[in-house]
């Protein structure tokens, strides 16, 4: 089948799947940021928690994404078939890049700046909020950017557990051995990833302090 014709005939369905895909990504990223950034702030001065948090986030990242979706299905409350399970898996997958960049950004501040801050009588929490966090913004955003691009890709697998999104076309295309149907899922997913990369990259450059 001609890919272009398939696109035109199914444009409403493709647009719907794209919107659904984007919703999955946005919700998952919102949760991942809400967990990973505060956690990254918390582990700056806590070594044991740091090792546990970074270790666990790394483990989630090493589980093959399809397996991670599968593992979650039998777990009560967060598991099952559908969107909720997919979002949980995407969140777990997105944690590491954000957590690691938050930690690296917060601890990578010029030691002279930190020494001056402490020597001038700032408390540790003032140093964290007023010095470390603003100076780490660009690095944290770089982690969010990486995580977003990964999530847009991994979210195509969410279709395997019935969460919808652009993966629906990819799985259907694989079953039908139709390039046109696979491309109907893959091209919008790739475009989403490129758009997110450009947008967040632009934001990152704006936040960077010379």
């Amino acid at each position: 089948m001609n890919a272009w014709r398939f696109f035109l005939e199914h444009r409403a369905e493709i647009l719907g799947a794209t919107a659904n895909h984007l919703t999955l990504v946005v919700i998952a990223m919102a949760f991942a940021i809400a967990i990973a950034v505060p956690l990254g702030m918390l582990i700056v001065h806590r070594k044991t928690l740091r090792n546990i948090a970074l270790g666990m986030a790394s483990v989630f990242q090493t589980i093959p994404s399809l397996a991670l979706f599968g593992f979650l299905i039998p777990i009560p409350f967060i598991g099952g078939i559908g969107r909720r399970t997919a979002i949980v898996a995407l969140v777990l997958y997105a944690l590491l890049p954000i957590l690691r960049n938050t930690y690296v950004g917060l601890t990578g501040v010029d030691p002279a700046v930190l020494e001056a801050a402490e020597g001038m009588g700032m408390t540790q929490s003032q140093i964290l909020w007023r010095v470390r966090l603003p100076l780490a913004r660009a690095v944290i955003l770089a982690g969010i950017r990486t995580a977003t691009i990964i999530t847009i890709g991994v979210a195509t697998i969410a279709a395997a557990i019935g969460a919808g999104g652009l993966g629906t076309f990819i799985f259907r295309g694989v079953a039908m051995v139709s390039d046109a149907v696979i491309l109907a899922g893959a091209i919008p997913a790739a475009l989403l990833a490129i758009a997110a990369d450009l947008l967040l990259g632009w934001l990152e450059r704006r936040l960077k302090i010379a």
Partner: protein
């Protein structure tokens, strides 16, 4: 150290009582060893020594960035360990070699750091920022809204000094503040700071490895070697002290191959 070098009558703003500081608390890692001296109110004390002689450690013991392993450091008569570290530090200006200005703050915000922590109102803070920038030779109109990366090394250090003076602390600690500057700018800032220090009447402890700087700025010089005080004297007397480390520093003043100046 000879107790006669301690000024007996002057009040002691800072006092070291038999202070040892060691990493991990083990004797083999002593950074400074059984140090005793006092800093009188209003004097400019220069801590002179080579790299690793322990001079920066002494400075950090004064504002409790470090705590003595044994002995006591008294500031305004109270051991630093009994001070609330935040209160102690807000009453002590601190200037370091790389200035340590906040790159995300403007010059005005940097200078206003302690006033903002102390929640001064904005009229008072602004007036103080203008006063201080003028004091350190920077035109407020031109500099308030600049960022540190738009300043030269010398200008950054001027802002660093202004920031340290913001809340009018009685004590000023300076850790090789002019060490990273080019020789011409360094000489300029040394001359200006010397005049400024005399006018302000603050208690200043200044760390350097440069004897020329010590002789120019000090009302008294303490020479450190290997974490111990080996000499203490006024600039006038310093070069007459008969000690190998004093002679080594004196030789650093001499032009290449010549006799000490």
């Amino acid at each position: 150290m000879n107790p006669k070098t301690v000024p007996e009558k002057a009040d002691r703003t800072i006092q070291f009582k038999n202070v040892t500081y060691s990493i991990n608390g083990t004797e083999h890692h002593n950074i400074v060893n059984e140090i005793g001296f006092s800093v009188a109110s209003g004097e400019t004390l220069l801590l002179l020594g080579r790299s690793g002689s322990g001079k920066t450690t002494l400075l950090k013991l004064m504002n409790r960035l470090l705590v003595p392993t044994t002995g006591q450091v008294l500031v305004h008569g109270r051991p630093t360990t009994e001070w609330d570290p935040i209160r102690l530090r807000r009453g002590i200006g601190y200037v370091i070699q790389d200035a340590g200005l906040f790159p995300h703050f403007t010059v005005a915000q940097n200078v206003a750091l302690v006033p903002s922590l102390e929640k001064w109102d904005s009229a008072r803070t602004n007036a103080r920022v203008h006063e201080l920038l003028t004091l350190v030779g920077l035109d407020p109109a031109e500099f308030v809204s600049r960022r540190p990366h738009e300043l030269s090394g010398g200008q950054r250090q001027r802002v660093g000094v202004a920031r340290a003076l913001a809340a009018d602390p009685a004590i000023l600690l300076m850790d090789e503040p002019f060490g990273a500057l080019d020789p011409v700018t360094r000489a300029e800032l040394q001359r200006e700071f010397s005049a400024l220090a005399r006018r302000l009447g603050k208690t200043i402890v200044f760390v350097t490895h440069d004897l020329r700087e010590a002789l120019l700025l000090a009302s008294r010089i303490i020479l450190l070697e290997g974490g111990r005080i080996v000499a203490a004297a006024t600039p006038q007397e310093f070069l007459r002290i008969d000690h190998p480390e004093v002679r080594a520093f004196a030789a650093s003043l001499a032009p290449l191959g010549g006799a000490p100046a």
